[in-house]
């Protein structure tokens, strides 16, 4: 699937809401950049779903396809985070990758579900790891669902589609 799963026909949100969404996304990305996983988990809804896919190459006139890389429900996402944030439980992320998330082309639309927003974001995730300073840069599009709550926005779903058919890194042990 290449098209955004989010409807782009819905009316854009107000300037104030757009700005609030952007600030939420930048703050959230900053938490991941800093490996502040406990705080980041606080921004997720109880029913969050986190998915990551990559592309396959098909002819222009044939339906594009993807392959799945991660498909975590809330509990499994918490387990994934528990693994990469505990020095006793991971080698892939201990020492941790040095990461920086660059968010662009942010589009925000009201979702059909009251109180929810569809947010499409282009992401560049730069990752440096290992004592040899190996570097990877992932380009992806993110389809997020944010839910308004009394405490502000929470992330209810994130679907990441990598702009790659062959992933040139040995693993994707970082979060987008």
């Amino acid at each position: 699937m290449t098209a955004s799963p989010h409807p782009t026909t819905a009316a854009p949100v107000t300037d104030a809401e757009y700005r609030a969404v952007c600030e939420f996304l930048y703050d959230e990305a900053a938490l991941l950049d800093q490996d502040a996983y406990a705080a980041w988990l606080g921004l997720l809804t109880a029913d969050v779903r986190y998915r990551l896919r990559a592309r396959t190459l098909r002819a222009l006139d044939q339906a594009a396809s993807t392959y799945r890389v991660v498909d975590n429900n809330a509990e499994e996402l918490r387990i994934r985070v528990g693994q990469i944030s505990d020095p006793r439980l991971t080698f892939a992320e201990n020492p941790p990758s040095i990461t920086r998330r660059h968010l662009h082309n942010i589009r925000v639309r009201a979702a059909a579900e009251p109180g929810e927003l569809h947010v499409t974001v282009n992401v560049l995730l730069h990752r440096s790891r290992g004592v040899e300073g190996e570097e990877h840069c992932y380009s992806a599009q993110r389809h997020d669902v944010l839910r308004r709550t009394d405490d502000g926005y929470l992330l209810a779903a994130r679907e990441v589609v990598l702009d790659s058919t062959v992933i040139k890194s040995m693993n994707v042990s970082v979060l987008f």
């Binding site: 990551l52 990559a54 396959t56 190459l57 098909r58 002819a59 044939q62 396809s65 993807t66 392959y67 799945r68 890389v69 991660v70 498909d71 975590n72 509990e75 499994e76 387990i79 994934r80 528990g82 693994q83 505990d86 006793r88 439980l89 991971t90 080698f91 892939a92 290992g130 040899e132 058919t165 062959v166 992933i167 040139k168 890194s169 040995m170 693993n171 994707v172 042990s173």
Partner: protein, 439 residues
């Protein structure tokens, strides 16, 4: 082919049967890589695809066979055609996608057109060729040997290679246990993941076939956190009783069983199909199977991982196949597919796919740890500093000639589970192919 036509290989012996040691240098070396291509990859049967990936006439996938790009096609007559992915005229890549449906291969350069049986249909300028040109000799370059075993498609560039049945031999019994345990057999659950790891293909192959010692250290994370079907004590007990099995040809499988309710972590509706399809000795294994992990020589591996409780009382296991495609010394491209029984419900197949990718592959919480460690070996094995200080597989030695008698399947089964027996036997087989002058 002689060694002299390649970059020089590091000094022998590469494998020392007496000390259970293996040269560090064979895991990242240009000479070894070239010789492996000549002696193993261009001579052996190699996995290409699963029949369920090319179910309908016209379906194609593109793969590599011993490094060469090939097209794997379901022909109009229902057969399987495998061809070098290169126009017979001037070499242009014909099929420029990962997969798709195409009954004809039309070269984008000069329009030469081939059927999915490989035959040349048109050059667009047939009338300009000399009189008497035999166009039947200008078809696609075929992979000379193609054969399937219960849905698994293999090919070989070696016209002299023996039958696939002989290559797989006794190991077919174990393949059945995972990929042909119902009448319909297995089906892929989508296209393969593809990712690049800076590791030697043999490192990956022996990890799956089978490094049983690393499970507790490398995978302590998911074993601690995930809701596996068994607690730590049960797993440790099961690992003590588990067997590793080696069959002729370098193939191996490790089987961990936990006695209990038969097929406890497989979908209920499939139990009668297992009973009907497998023979009693196979059923004895599958009924209690907790983990199966394997390498089919040289570079095909699979794993059916420990079941996870995905909802209260609901257990799901992922079944994954992966191919370690050597792309250079110390570098592989991994193709990773998830599988399930063809008869499984759509819901179960979805759950098995989710289970598979969350545990293994480029985003899996188990495998993300393996590749980190494998990829740190290459730099360190290249150096001549390691000459005289080989890698240690000595735990293979005490039981290498002492298989156990209580395993119902073919081949030689061994305990202790954590000894390095099948890994060492894989490398011994590798060594034999690498050092014997081909006939």
């Amino acid at each position: 082919m002689t060694q002299s036509s390649h970059a020089p290989c590091p000094p022998q012996p590469w494998i020392d049967d007496k000390t259970g040691t293996v040269s560090r240098r064979i895991f990242d070396d240009e000479g070894i890589f070239a010789l492996e291509k000549a002696r193993i990859f261009r001579r052996s049967w190699l996995y290409l695809a699963h029949e369920s990936e090319i179910a309908a006439p016209g379906d194609v996938v593109t793969r590599r066979l011993a490094g060469d790009p090939v097209i794997v096609a379901r022909r109009d007559d229902g057969g399987i055609g495998v061809y070098l992915n290169s126009c017979r005229h001037r070499g242009v890549r014909l099929c420029r996608v990962d997969s798709g449906s195409m009954r004809r291969f039309v070269c984008p350069y000069h329009g030469w057109t081939f059927g999915n049986d490989g035959a040349l249909l048109s050059t667009t300028v047939d009338n300009l060729f000399p009189e008497g040109t035999d166009f039947t000799k200008l078809g696609l370059i075929p992979v000379p040997r193609v054969a399937t075993y219960k849905g698994l498609i293999f090919g070989s560039w070696n016209t002299e290679v023996g039958p696939l049945e002989d290559h797989l031999g006794d190991f077919r019994w174990y393949l059945d246990l995972f990929f042909a345990r119902t009448p319909g057999g297995a089906t892929v659950l989508g296209p393969p993941q593809r990712f690049v790891v800076n590791a030697d293909w043999k490192t990956a192959a022996i990890n799956f076939g089978t490094d049983n010692t690393h499970i507790i250290t490398t995978h302590i994370g998911p074993l601690t956190l995930s809701k596996t079907a068994f607690d730590r004590k049960q797993i440790m007990g099961a690992l003590r009783d588990a067997v590793q099995v080696s069959t002729p040809g370098g193939h191996s499988v490790s089987l961990v069983t936990v006695p209990g309710r038969p097929y406890a972590h497989y979908p209920e509706e499939l139990h009668p199909l297992y009973e009907r399809t497998l023979d009693e000795s196979q059923r004895v294994i599958l009924r209690d199977l907790a983990i199966g992990v394997s390498t089919v020589f040289p570079n095909l591996s699979f794993i059916e991982n420990i079941a996870q409780e995905v909802a209260p009382g609901v257990h799901v296991k992922g079944l994954l196949m992966r191919q370690w495609q050597p792309v250079g010394p110390g570098k592989i491209e991994v193709l990773s597919w998830c599988f399930a029984e063809r008869e499984a419900s759509a819901e179960y197949r979805e759950a098995a796919l989710v289970r598979g990718v969350n545990d293994f592959g480029v985003g899996g919480v188990f495998e993300q740890e393996d590749v980190e460690l494998w990829s740190s070996i290459g730099d360190l094995s290249r150096s001549p500093a390691g000459d005289g200080h080989p890698f240690v597989f000595a735990t293979a030695l005490p039981h290498l000639d002492d298989p156990v008698a209580d395993h119902p399947g073919p081949g030689r089964a061994y305990r202790p589970f954590a000894s390095e027996i099948t890994q060492f036997k894989f490398l011994q087989h590798w060594n034999q192919l690498m050092t014997e002058e081909p006939a």
